[in-house]
Symmetry: C2
Subunit: 333 residues, 2 copies
């Protein structure tokens, strides 16, 4: 018998969420049933996309339910196994984040081969955010020689990988982020032009100063003013990989709207939205490439770590106030 | 020596243009020089895209200059030819619209093979607007079996062709237009669901009533509220061919903005802008297909005709008040 604390959705946020929208519940796990494992989580992830699941109707993924535990990626250690495929001590990856421990069918806890990396890297650079960067740049934006790449939220979990993949492939990279700490990090990872959007009155002008000829690829994690700046700075035939729009997630009803979409016509732009899960066919290539790039020192990463399940809601909220550099993680146990 | 009246840009419109932004000038054409032809125009076209050229800076095409004649497609008859390739009486197509007659190098007046069609069809269904429909549906939206197609400004020069190509290829077509005359026309050409946007408080709801499962393709001629409705009604992986945004052309500075772009991410939509001129490689296929479809009675069209060069500005303005059904043309001479 194991005790686990987990985070429940207490109420649906209207606009910016607060810690009051969440509550900590303590549950007692029975012994795992036949074919099940019991796992103690070591790490869990918080990601901006989870905000969408807090609405009653979610445009992708299933919405979270009031009074139930949230869900998300986690790395844990098997405590008890009733399946021969897993044994106590094995590291596993699952979708049972936001809780300290859980019972589940063994098939829902994938054994993790860390390939010498810290396990939590599989919630970041070597996991969903890293693969999102890879898919967005290589498949959705169809990166090609000579492209000038603009990335928003460039110091975030996805953005930091976008910057580095584009750099190792020889591209000029413009990254936008907020505050001197993030700007310093962007320079450290080789970004050619790091723009602190908090100090720029005219973001499009800043992008065009960095790339007077315009940009060919925009990797959007922000939407709103960043998307408008990219429309202004885009060269004809530029491709936009729309990965997320953190500026829009908390807009109650609808946001202020994106102006200047008419530029999509005249400049013959392609704006394409994508979700990582629909491109799982790229996973083997991603894992092979990313392992090699990390081993060669071509891709590095930052993490921002909060301690303890009780701080998971606060960690999630910090994504929207931009307090993380690199991947935001919660360390459990 | 020939006298010609032509339309000059008198001042740059701010917002919705008025007839005061234009003036009629009379010019005297000298005899054409060596290698030149003199042409009397029979028909000229007015198209919404010309509004963009009335700004000081145009995102595509060159801007019109104050005090100079506007430009655009025209069909004329050769009066005098100093080039063996053309002879008096030949029908020619040129970019020297907005004037009654002109001198030009013979290479700038392309001899027109009407294939039994009325010459002005080459300013409409068999010309730029028809080919725009063809490119947008077949290449940009990549129409495929089973797609449900939504078209805005469906009774306009481009929209009427989009509807009919989609119908002859077996698709369910939802067309939006304003007013009972246009709605009747849409039904006449086989549109499955004709939506009068002027009577619909909630356009997205109207589209979803017509297609409860959502739309797969949106052909945008309008932007703004129509684009937002399409985002709401889109099925996952829908493709949007962005051809024009007539609702935005007169917005001084920037329009009110398009909300809900976040749906592009979750639904994995692809929004692609295009201009017809960049896809001239499709011209032979377009001409072959369109000639056949017209001969088989599968594509028909409407025209709205104004008489005389002095009424060309008024004809142009009527595009923005939606007074045309089908192609808006000016008959000259």
């Amino acid at each position: 018998m194991t005790t686990s604390r987990e985070i429940h959705l207490k109420s649906r946020p209207a606009g910016m969420p607060s810690v009051d929208n969440f509550e900590v519940a303590t549950v007692i796990l029975p012994d795992p049933g036949p074919g099940e494992v019991q796992v103690r989580n070591l790490w869990m992830t918080v990601d901006p996309y989870m905000r969408a699941q807090m609405y009653k109707v979610s445009s992708y993924h299933l919405p979270f339910q009031i009074g139930e535990a949230l869900q998300g990626g986690a790395i844990g250690e098997v405590l008890v196994s009733n399946d021969p495929a897993l044994k106590p001590g094995d590291l596993v990856q699952s979708a049972f984040g936001w809780r300290e421990a859980f019972n589940a069918p063994a098939a829902m806890a994938r054994k993790l081969d860390t390939r010498g990396l810290p396990p939590q890297a599989f919630l970041g650079v070597a996991g969903m955010p890293g693969m999102t960067a890879y898919i967005g740049l290589l498949r959705i934006a169809a990166l090609k020689d000579g492209d000038v790449v603009f990335v928003s939220a460039a110091a975030g979990a996805v953005g930091q990988v976008v910057c580095q993949i584009a750099k190792l492939k020889g591209h000029t990279v413009i990254g936008s982020a907020g505050g001197p700490g993030k700007i310093a990090y962007l320079k450290e990872i080789g970004v050619d032009h790091a723009i602190d959007y908090k100090t720029e009155a005219n973001l499009a002008a800043a992008v065009l100063r960095a790339a007077p000829g315009g940009i060919d690829v925009y990797f959007d994690n922000v939407g709103g003013d960043h998307l408008e700046a990219a429309l202004t700075a885009a060269r004809p035939l530029a491709r936009f990989a729309l990965c997320g729009m953190i500026s829009q997630y908390n807009a109650p009803g609808r946001g202020p709207g994106t102006g200047d979409l008419i530029k999509v016509v005249g400049k013959q732009l392609r704006l394409q939205g994508f979700v990582q899960a629909a491109h799982s066919d790229m996973a083997p290539a991603f894992i092979a490439d990313m392992s090699k790039w990390i081993a060669e020192g071509k891709v590095t990463w930052r993490e921002t770590i909060e301690q303890g399940i009780e701080n998971a809601p606060a960690a999630f909220l910090k994504l929207f106030t931009g307090e993380n550099i690199g991947k935001m993680l919660v360390k459990l146990g």
